[in-house]
Amino acid sequence: MAVLELSNISKHFGAIQAVNDVSLSIEPGEVVGLMGDNGAGKSTLVKMIAGNFRPSEGTMKMDGAELILHKPVEARRHGIEIVHQDLALCNNLTAAANVFLGRELRRGFGPFAVLDYATMYRRAGELFKELKSETRPRDLVKKMSGGQRQAVAIARTRLSNAKIVLMDEPTAAISVRQVAEVLSLIHRLRDQGIAVVLISHRMPDVFSVADRVIVLRRGRKVADKKIASSSPEEVTGLITGAIEQV
């Protein structure tokens, strides 16, 4: 059964039709590349799944049950985790503090509960190990490389039982070596049965990790096909409009 299913989703802002009648479904453990030019509706679509916007029309289903989100926090509660394009990290805090931001572990009870540093460091260390990333829980994020910062942002998604992880341009601003690191992090998520939606401009990234590619143009879905049966040339054509629809 599909973990996430969108049926006939539309979103308009006043007279502007940002997303128009898009349907798609995502299976557990599947990596889907979501592509499209600027203004194609990728961000709007993702923001609806993330709970930032409510669709104007259409329905979303999670594990077969209807999904209505009012706030981003609710998306998280349903097992939808987002890795934001800017990663949403606090430079002045440690890696562990960032991983647990908003979900701090505490010990003691009631008003006497204090932050449980030891457990948070240990858990964060385990998550980094699981992601095979050389990231130290006690380091300040300020001093980290782009790949390590990605690892911190991705480790966050592993705190809860995420079913689907949306990654917004995770490879846009990092070096080539770090891109490889991030792509292998995506593989790790997939291996654990988590569905990943990869929003990206970079054709090679999508073709190296995704199982399927969905292309949006001017708010409409113009392609939804297996990576194996497509090609970068075809996808480029679909993004630009040289190829109308497949």
Partner: protein, 333 residues
């Protein structure tokens, strides 16, 4: 083998405890304070006397207590310019209430309520309506002092009704081993602030908001309520300092605490708080306040014209931040 190196890397600490201390601005300012004390004990006869030390420790407290609240505001990336006026208004509310014949409990309750209302007003405008903190608190600086004048009709209040003596001993006494009462209040408040910043979720969120407010919002941190709370805490600290100072001085004028906000901000910044947000400690606030007071005290004892005071305090601010800059340059190289 590869797994064990990964384990080792992850388990490694970035820096030892010692290098962490040596790298902090607060530590170096502390060294400066200690060095100045040692120098002054040898250079003057008057410095290391119990009377002078009693004076210094007591004088430090008013700036230090407010600097604790200010540090929280600064960590979130804000600023509170209204503290000097809020101190005056809270003193005046206390004075006028007690002068009217109410007990000290009523006076203190009214005074603290005033502080919290002002803090909440500042905080709501800043957090929910998106006003710049500088503008809101600058406005409040003017409003609060004016209200203090209205409340007292711009007279000096020096009779505090039935609990007059209790109020004076509360602020001017030394109930515990000859340590001035205000110093005890300062220590207790500093311990509470330090604990909250390091060990509570609230403290963690205060740092997170200063580090990256947008990220804090996205990760579900209740940014707006916390911002309101820090401005309430800042005003509360000014209110508490006002109550203590009233007891110590025994009289309230409407120019009480004028210009104090700049001293408080200076103390916080000298102690390592970063006006850009995200960095600051309770210890730093105390040490910064101590350095300012020692500069003031020593100039008098060394017979240097008091007009030089501003130059020395100003230089201390710039020097303290200069160290921070040098450290950043080294790191970025």
């Amino acid at each position: 083998m590869a797994i064990s190196t990964l384990d080792q890397t992850i388990g490694q600490k970035q820096q030892s405890w010692l290098s962490g201390v040596l790298g902090s601005q607060t530590f170096w300012v502390f060294i400066a304070v200690v060095a100045a004390c040692i120098f002054l004990s040898f250079a003057t006869d008057a410095f290391a006397t119990s009377k002078n030390l009693y004076n210094i420790t007591r004088n430090v407290t008013f700036v230090a207590i407010i600097a604790l609240g200010m540090t929280l505001v600064i960590i979130t990336g804000g600023i509170d310019l209204s503290v000097g006026s809020v101190l005056c208004l809270c003193s005046m509310v206390l004075g006028v209430t007690m002068h009217a014949g109410y007990g000290i409990e009523v006076g203190i309750a009214a005074s603290i309520a005033t502080a919290l209302i002002i803090g909440a007003f500042n905080g709501v405008l800043i957090a929910y309506l998106g006003f710049p903190p500088f503008v809101v608190t600058l406005g409040m600086l003017s409003v609060a002092r004016s209200l203090a004048m209205v409340a007292s009709n711009n007279t000096v209040v020096f009779q505090f009704g039935p609990d007059h003596d209790l109020l004076l001993s509360l602020g001017g006494g030394a109930w515990f081993f000859g340590i001035a009462n205000p110093v005890l209040y300062m220590i207790v408040l500093a311990l509470i602030t330090g604990f909250v910043l390091r060990w509570t979720r609230f403290g963690r969120y205060v740092y997170a908001i200063g580090g990256n407010e947008h990220a804090a919002t996205l990760t579900g941190v209740p940014v707006k309520p916390i911002k309101v709370a820090v401005y309430m805490i800042s005003a509360l600290s000014a209110g508490i300092a006002g109550i203590i100072q009233t007891g110590w001085l025994g009289a309230i004028t409407t120019n009480l605490g004028a210009g104090l906000e700049l001293q408080v901000i200076a103390a916080a910044v000298i102690g390592g708080a970063n006006l850009a947000g995200g960095i600051g400690t309770a210890t730093g606030a105390l040490i910064g306040a101590a350095l300012i007071e020692i500069i003031r005290n020593s100039l008098g004892l060394l017979g240097i014209n008091a007009f030089w005071q501003g130059t020395f305090i100003g230089s201390a601010i710039i020097l303290a931040v200069l160290f921070e800059r040098i450290r950043n340059f080294r790191q970025s190289e």
